[in-house]
């Protein structure tokens, strides 16, 4: 292509730049959605932008954002973990028993998160070792873990040692959950975009055959992602349990946690079929879900209507993404 003789008008130049950014960054559409929703709620409800409410939004987002960070890695590499919700509810009890046994809280959390990692290892070992789709392996594992949690807890909530050393950092203090979200999102973003692990993750999901021919150790990469996802799920469960002040076996809602993590990942631009996705996008997806939940509560939308509107909003966000993707592909082919 050659330089154009006539320069386009100034305004088009701006549009072009905005458009170029939108096309270059797959997360940008969901970022616009988040911004627009935040603006809307801020305009209609003055309480939306108060510190207290921003804290509530962050709380709505903690579990989904951390679970989604792990789920994205698995989805990109062509796998999924449906047991994350159950691991989320199991790990606090591992921490509880470790702390009962005399470990200080930070160490007990390490023990708990390692325990969660064992579940991830089993998921990976069974799925990759026997060639069974991770969908079904992790579904089964979810039930196993649910039963295990109910047994070790006697189905009874346990009081969090709230005066324990370090409880403030691990979810106890206001915004400590958000701090962990930010640390994890940045860390995972760097891993995905700037490490061999990340590059290989995209490769094994996008083109499994090509990747293996190129010598990418796909089993090792997937195994890492299984373990990582389970550990993140466990950690999220612990900091949320500490925030709420009670470790609950949560028999009924484990599935919801998983599906929200998948929803956040997918509305943030991660392909369910694998091969592409971003951590930042999943974070923004979780943010959108958090803003919707908080905003609807502030506005006084009642429970019966709530999930209907939430579901419609998720579908709309997805339609938007799909339109943006098509535009992206069109413009990319136009560039060639």
């Amino acid at each position: 292509m050659t330089d154009t003789a006539v320069a386009p008008p100034r305004s088009q130049n701006l549009w072009g730049r905005v458009g170029g950014f939108l096309v270059a960054r797959p997360e940008s559409t969901i970022a616009i959605v988040a911004l627009a929703l935040a603006t809307y709620f801020a305009v209609v409800n003055p309480a939306f932008l108060t510190t207290a409410n921003i804290r509530v939004i962050s709380q709505y987002m903690i579990a989904t954002a951390i679970l989604a960070a792990g789920q994205v890695m698995l989805l990109i590499s062509g796998e999924i973990d449906l047991s994350m919700g159950n691991v989320y509810f199991m790990t606090p009890f591992l921490v509880f028993f470790a702390s009962e046994a005399g470990l200080v809280l930070p160490l007990a959390i390490v023990v708990g998160v390692l325990g969660a990692g064992v579940v991830g290892y089993l998921n990976g070992a069974i799925s990759l070792g026997f060639g069974i789709p991770s969908f079904i392996v992790t579904l089964g594992m979810g039930f196993v873990i649910n039963g295990f949690t109910l047994n070790i807890s006697d189905g009874f909530p346990k009081r969090v040692p709230s005066d324990a050393v370090g409880a403030e950092i691990f979810g106890g203090a206001n915004f400590s959950g958000l701090m962990w979200v930010i640390i994890i999102v940045i860390g995972m973003h760097l891993i995905l975009k700037h490490s061999r692990w990340g590059v290989y993750t995209v490769a094994v999901g996008g083109n499994p055959l090509g990747a293996s021919e190129a010598g990418v150790p796909s089993r090792k990469i997937k195994m890492r992602n299984f373990i990582l996802a389970a550990m993140l799920a466990g950690f999220a469960g612990v900091i949320e349990g500490i925030r709420v002040g009670s470790f609950d076996p949560g028999a009924g809602v484990a599935g919801t946690k998983v599906f929200e993590s998948v929803a956040a990942a997918v509305i943030g631009g991660t392909a369910l079929a694998g091969g592409s996705g971003t951590i930042i996008g999943a974070f923004l997806g979780a943010l959108v879900l958090g803003i919707l939940r908080d905003g609807f509560n502030l506005q006084g939308v009642s429970a019966f209507t709530f999930t209907m509107v939430l579901g419609a909003a998720i579908i709309l966000a997805m339609i938007l993404n799909s339109l943006a993707n098509k535009a992206r592909i069109r413009s990319q082919s136009a560039r060639l």
Partner: protein, 369 residues
């Protein structure tokens, strides 16, 4: 400017506009939903955000004109049919008093989600909060925060000893204790199962504790066994049936939650347990099938706890607290311990009303028989 930017222009601008349009649409849905919900309330439906009633000079009835106070009800199972009469109770009280309300919380007893809903209500400067305290610890912080922000908090349906102003609901341990006494009367001795959906949940666990204590204190030769049945009705039915098939010498089967009670009745009927050793069966709450089973004599009793009042009275209490500037302290209220038997169940069987939750229309319910 490079030419490819120009070529990008058209699709990307469309894309950008679509993004704006789509988010505007989400906002529009939200706006419509609010209107829709209020309209539903006026028509007597469930789950509305409440409507204002009184018009003209003063406020509701004799009261001075008040702002449209908004009371938020945080619930652990927002879509459970048990609470339909509760929502009607809140709606009706709100219509009398010219207040509005929000019914929110968790669909699946997720403490974190309930705490979030409660904290959103505090951030949104709600005028009062009613909450089911289903956990001993989780809601203590938010309750203190709300009270510190001048928002009255009371508990309904389930209670924990924290700084809330009062509890409106059944005396759970006391009702369990009464049930235990009734079990001793009916059964006398032998193997008795006590079914509980989710052990440890504060709105049912105290009942089973009360029943077990009463049986132990009576000194009767009863072997009481507590069994967890699960949160879903189908699961509860399977658990109760499996237990009975393995324990056909049981002399009694009782339950402390709505789903398990219905399951006990169904198993007693389907397995003809009364033809074996079974001498007593019963439980809690008024699921339609349970009422039917009590009226047929399959179940000896079911215990009513007046869910309508668990919505109506908290709304009234929060209103009076606001109106009186805190002079009227809401009282602890036991919404009841009524044993329904085969004759008193007839009334519930033959009527349908907002008080039972099986009819949305406002109507005067005629007594039966």
């Amino acid at each position: 400017m490079p030419p490819d930017t120009v070529q990008l222009l058209s699709p990307s601008r469309r894309n950008f506009l679509k993004a704006l349009g789509m988010t505007a649409a989400i906002g529009l849905i939200n706006a419509c939903t609010n209107d829709g919900a209020t309209a539903t309330t006026a028509a007597g439906g469930t789950g509305g955000t409440g409507g204002t009633a009184a018009a003209g000079g003063g406020g509701a009835g004799n009261f001075p004109e008040t702002p449209e106070w908004n009371f938020v009800f945080v619930n652990h199972v927002t879509t459970n049919p048990f609470f339909v009469p509760t929502v009607y109770g809140i709606e009706d009280a709100s219509a009398i008093l010219g207040t509005s309300f929000q019914w929110t919380g968790s669909e699946g007893a997720d403490n974190g989600e309930m705490v979030n809903a409660m904290e959103a209500a505090i951030a949104g400067e709600a005028d009062g909060i009613g909450v089911c305290l289903v956990d001993l610890e989780a809601f203590n912080g938010p309750t203190d925060d709300a009270l510190a922000a001048g928002i009255p908090v009371l508990s309904y349906n389930a209670d924990a000893p924290n700084s809330r102003l009062c509890y409106v609901g059944q005396d759970l341990y006391g009702s369990g204790f009464e049930m235990g006494n009734r079990i001793v009367e009916l059964v006398g001795s032998g193997k008795v199962a006590l079914f509980i959906a989710t052990p440890g949940q504060l709105n049912i666990q105290p009942r089973i504790d009360g029943a077990l204590d009463a049986i132990a204190e009576s000194g009767a030769d009863i072997e009481a066994i507590d069994i967890a049945t699960g949160a879903a009705l189908e699961e509860e039915l399977s658990t109760v049936e499996a237990w009975y098939l393995g324990n056909q010498d049981a002399t009694g089967m009782f339950a402390v939650d709505a789903g398990s009670t219905q399951a006990v009745g169904q198993v007693v009927r389907d397995q003809n347990a009364r033809d074996n050793a079974l001498a007593g069966a019963g439980g809690y709450d008024l699921l339609p099938e349970t009422v039917e089973l009590v009226s047929e004599g399959v179940l000896d009793f079911t215990i009513d706890q007046q869910p309508y009042l668990q919505g109506f009275l908290p709304t009234l209490y929060l209103y009076l607290y606001k109106l009186s500037g805190g002079v009227v302290t809401p009282p602890e209220t036991n919404t009841g311990l009524v044993f329904l038997d085969s004759s008193s169940a007839q009334l519930f069987l033959k009527t349908s009303s907002r008080f039972e939750g099986d009819a949305a229309e406002q109507a005067i319910v005629e007594p039966v028989g």
